[in-house]
């Protein structure tokens, strides 16, 4: 266990020493003895300083010292993680159809991977894998659709937040061809949230020349669509993003895509929290678009210009897969910062450290109650002190 603010622990130790000293050196009035002829004793002050080591109160002393030390340790922000590292890398490995060879991606990740690093595989969606070898043979290996860098960045952001207790800095390594069709209008905004530099390892891109056009757009309504399942808990999302068009409104999210449908699809719109809101999927020579965004007919949201632009972006023809030519996306991903992202600057996540502190505070409260129980009979016994 280590402490992020050891000063509190030192202060608690000093306070505990003070309590021990006060326990051993006490100023008290000696116990009065009944004496019928006390009235004949000349009246003088009866206070006396007495130095005593009271062995009978060791339990009370122990409880007090423990309570103080627990409070100090809780304020010192204890960390139960193992050895804290200076740098931990988060690899966002592209395993989508934009990549010519997944093995190349795996080798690139493996060459820089060290124990404790986090590997994220992303295509149209992202997931954390245990080792670089897990990148090959995954469910998305046969996917011919381009990946979503936005999904990879969001997953990397979450992974970085969970690393606050384990490292001082986080380096994000994106292993991807970074073709133009892997980015969207949200990529820039998501990238700007990452507080440090990003290392982009370019791998060879697959070649696609076939243009596709949208043949059908299916919107989810009150009834469950075939491509979605009901949410475990209906929630409200504040915005949805598609093709650089953002619609800010309280959308009720009732459905989510079936996991199998995401494997062969490309995300064309996302909820503001990064979850897919619309996908397009190859269907022979055309493609089908599935949209989970439902609009309340009683409102005016359907008439708003931003929603009209959003709707047009959804209804636009399917994207054309492009070759791996250099684009501005690589520059965008690299960013301007030269420094690594500090874990402290990443959003905090609930981790074991705060829980340990809470348990310590709880234990201190229990000890305080025990101290009161132990002290009560003592006060009654020595009322003249």
């Amino acid at each position: 266990m280590s402490f992020l603010a050891p000063g509190f622990l030192i202060a608690a130790a000093v306070a505990a020493c003070g309590i021990v000293a006060l326990h051993l050196i006490v100023r008290r009035r000696p116990r009065a003895t009944p004496f019928p002829t006390a009235r004949f004793v000349p009246d003088e002050p009866v206070a006396a300083r007495k130095r005593a080591i009271n062995l009978s109160d060791l339990l009370l002393l122990l409880v007090r010292v423990l309570a103080i030390l627990l409070v100090g340790a809780a304020l010192a922000r204890p960390v139960i993680a193992g050895v804290r590292k200076n740098i931990i890398r988060v690899f966002a490995a592209d395993v989508s159809g934009s990549v010519a060879s997944i093995g190349e991606v795996r080798d690139s990740v493996r060459s820089a991977h060290k124990a404790g690093d986090v590997v994220i595989a992303f295509d149209t969606v992202a997931r954390v894998v245990s080792t670089p070898d897990s990148l090959v043979g995954g469910g998305a290996a046969g996917n011919q659709l381009p990946g979503s860098l936005s999904a990879g960045l969001i997953a990397a952001m979450r992974a970085g937040s969970s690393l606050r207790a384990r490292a001082d800095s986080v380096e994000l390594v994106i292993v991807s061809p970074a073709t133009e069709d892997e980015g969207d209008r949200a990529t820039s905004a998501i990238r700007s949230v990452w507080p440090g530099r990003v290392r982009l390892v370019r791998v060879a891109a697959a070649r696609h020349s076939k243009a596709q056009t949208a043949s059908a757009v299916a919107f989810a309504g009150a009834e469950r669509p075939a491509f979605a399942v009901a949410q475990n808990r209906i929630d409200t999302v504040g915005a949805v993003i598609a093709g650089g068009h953002v619609v800010v409104a309280p959308f009720e999210r009732r459905w989510r895509f079936i996991a199998d449908s995401l494997g062969q699809a490309r995300v064309i719109a996302r909820w503001v929290d990064g979850q897919p809101a619309a996908i397009e999927k190859d269907s022979g020579g055309a493609c089908t678009k599935s949209v989970l965004v439902s609009v309340d007919s009683t409102g005016d949201i359907a008439l708003r210009p931003d929603f009209i632009a959003f709707r047009n972006a959804i209804a636009a023809p399917c994207r054309r897969a492009q070759s791996g030519a250099d684009t501005g996306l690589a520059v965008l991903l690299a960013g301007r910062s030269e420094r690594l992202a500090s874990t402290g600057s990443l959003p905090a996540a609930v981790d074991g450290r705060s829980m340990v502190a809470r348990w310590m505070i709880l234990a201190a409260i229990v000890l305080a109650i025990v101290e009161m129980v132990l002290r009560r009979p003592r006060v009654g016994r020595t009322e003249d002190k």
Binding site: R29, P30, R31, A32, T33, P34, F35, P36, T37, A38, R39, F40, V41, P42, D43, E44, P45, V46, A48, D384
Partner: protein, 281 residues
């Protein structure tokens, strides 16, 4: 415990310090001249004398009428007032002032009872703890049983008991440390003595009061909780002097009022010796 004490006082007689005005037959000298067998003197017959008291043989020899005068013997009912205030419960244990007071009371009741005098006990502060003066058998046992159950606590005014006991009793003994209402007790005592009755002031003192042990540092009055004093090397001398002066003054005032005053110190002498000093005063 009481068996040994009662053995030690067997045969003692508690004589009245002055002739009794009562005419009840007993062992004490009476002021009343009567017709008992103990002849004292002759007196010339006066009109109105009882003819049965005329000594007819002397009249035959001297041709003058004389009546026989003899002394009467009276009994002396006795009240023993015992102080059961908190100050008597010192030091705690069998050597306390209260234990000594119990033993003195039982012994005095036994001595009075042996002389045919009715003896009663009144515990100050405990109105129900009273045994009226009586001379019948079992009186001593009754007193022992009553004193055994008395709680020793609080502050008990002696003066009220003294006034109550003095109504028709020629002899009153007070067993106390006199640390309570001494002034009022003395005032009532003086009135009782002035009316021709005997008062015995039996001052019970603990040896620890005369010479406090060195372990005592802070002391408090058990009957006045706000009185707290520190016994140090500086204050010890002052205490010894003040307490000795008070005892001396108390003794002088009791004696000056005409009472029989005795100091009994715990552990200083057997109870039988103390009782012997009391009844011979």
């Amino acid at each position: 415990m009481y068996g040994q004490i009662l053995d030690s006082v067997r045969g003692l007689r508690w004589r009245a310090r002055r002739p009794s005005r009562l005419a009840m037959p007993g062992i004490h000298q009476s002021r009343v001249r009567g017709t008992s067998a103990e002849f004292t003197e002759y007196r010339p017959y006066r009109a109105g004398d009882d003819l049965r008291r005329v000594d007819w043989k002397l009249f035959a020899r001297s041709d003058r009428a004389h009546v026989r005068i003899s002394e009467e013997r009276a009994v002396t009912p006795t009240w023993i007032i015992v102080d059961a205030s908190a100050s008597m419960n010192f030091p705690e244990g069998p050597g306390s002032k209260w234990a000594l007071a119990q033993q003195l009371t039982v012994a005095l009741v036994a001595v009075a009872h042996a002389g045919g005098d009715p003896a009663g006990v009144m515990v100050a502060g405990h109105p129900r703890a009273t045994i009226q003066p009586r001379a019948r058998r079992g009186a001593v046992t009754e007193v022992i049983r009553m004193l055994h159950d008395i709680p020793v606590a609080g502050a008990s005014p002696l003066s009220a008991c003294l006034a109550l006991a003095s109504r028709a009793t020629p002899r009153i003994a007070i067993v106390s440390d006199f640390l309570g209402d001494l002034e009022e007790t003395m005032r009532v005592g003086r009135e009782i003595i002035a009316s021709g009755r005997d008062v015995y002031a039996l001052h019970v003192v603990a040896s620890e009061e005369i010479d406090p042990p060195g372990s005592v540092s802070l002391v408090s009055d058990p009957e006045a909780g706000d009185v707290r004093r520190s016994v140090t090397s500086r204050t010890r001398g002052g205490y010894l002097q003040a307490y000795a002066d008070w005892r001396e003054e108390t003794a002088a005032r009791w004696l000056a009022s005409g009472a029989a005053y005795r100091v009994i110190v715990t552990g200083a002498e057997p109870v039988g010796h103390a009782v012997r000093r009391i009844v011979h005063s």
